[in-house]
């Protein structure tokens, strides 16, 4: 079977078409989903792509979180469907309380666009099985509200349960993509829910799937191959 992966478009979503391309390149069928449609049809997984949904007005993700499609995504996520939130999608997942914590303005107060070094901390999620725990990857990062924040207890819990999925590689040359770009607590770049089916991160794997484009690396492709393998074998 070919896995069907839904890609949601909210008003102001920017990376939906890139995400569809990444899904297709990885070998699945990309299914465009519209924010107003509660019915998502037969999809096996959903990606909430990056962008500025509703202009990021109020707070990033705050308005999209209440869209009809999210009602279904929330329900399906609780039932175990793999959901990936990238950048703005991560912000939506936090606002929707599918993931704990919140995103704040970068400590540098500027939008930051760079090639970012990350460590994949765990391969035990629906979206990271094709990585080795501890593997270092480099994918584009671009945001202004990317500072991950949660209270100490939540952070400790995330660490203890192995739910910190990606960390910024803080030590090294900025010119080579090292460093915590936004002041995220404990250098957290991405996390998962307890079941491991819902993952959110700030950097953009969908921009790192073709050798020629962007940074010229394909370090992001394994996000999509991971989930496809899981779906096909399920």
């Amino acid at each position: 079977m070919t896995a069907r992966i839904g890609v949601v478009t909210f008003p102001g979503t920017l990376d939906d078409r890139d995400t569809q391309r990444a899904v297709t390149l990885a070998g699945a069928e990309a299914v465009p989903l519209w924010h107003r449609d509660k019915d998502v049809g037969q999809v096996d997984a959903v990606v909430l792509p990056g962008g500025f949904s509703y202009g990021d007005y109020l707070r990033a993700g705050a308005i999209s979180r209440f869209s009809p499609v999210m009602a279904t995504v929330i329900e399906q996520a609780h039932a175990g469907m793999p959901v990936l939130g990238i950048c703005n999608g991560f912000q939506v997942l936090c606002e929707a309380h599918l993931l704990p914590g919140a995103m704040l303005r970068n400590t540098g107060l500027h939008f930051v666009c760079r090639d970012q070094k990350l460590r994949v901390e765990t391969s035990a999620t629906a979206w990271t099985a094709d990585y080795a725990a501890g593997e270092e990857i480099s994918i584009p990062l671009k945001n202004i509200d990317g500072r991950y924040t949660a209270d100490e207890r939540t952070l400790d819990e995330l660490e203890a349960e192995g739910r910190v999925v990606f960390r910024y590689l803080a030590d090294g040359e900025a010119a080579e993509g090292y460093g915590n770009p936004n002041g995220s607590l404990r250098d957290i770049a991405g996390i998962s829910n307890a079941a491991g089916n819902v993952v959110g991160l700030m950097p953009h794997p969908e921009h790192a799937v073709e050798p020629l484009i962007g940074t010229g690396r394909t370090d992001g492709l394994a996000f999509f191959t991971s989930v496809i393998k899981k779906l096909v074998s399920a």
Binding site: L58, R59, A62, F66, C94, E95, P100, G101, A102, L104, R105, N106, T107, G108, L109, T149, A150, G183
Partner: protein, 81 residues
Amino acid sequence: MARVVVDVMLKPEILDPQGQAVQRALPRLGFAGISDVRQGKRFELEVEGPVDDAALARIREMAETFLANTVIEDFDVKVES
């Protein structure tokens, strides 16, 4: 028509780089004696009909679920005279 104001501020324990940037700039601009600055949001809502307890309760709910993210923010609702 009445105006209700909702003030939303980051919780005190959360780092506020925008407020800090303002505070750091003040001495350079010649303003001394400000020991802390926090920056938040102010919403002015024009409410149709009377702002009675029921209306205020609804606005509080709106602030709690929507205007503020209570993971990181506190809010305050006031009727403007």
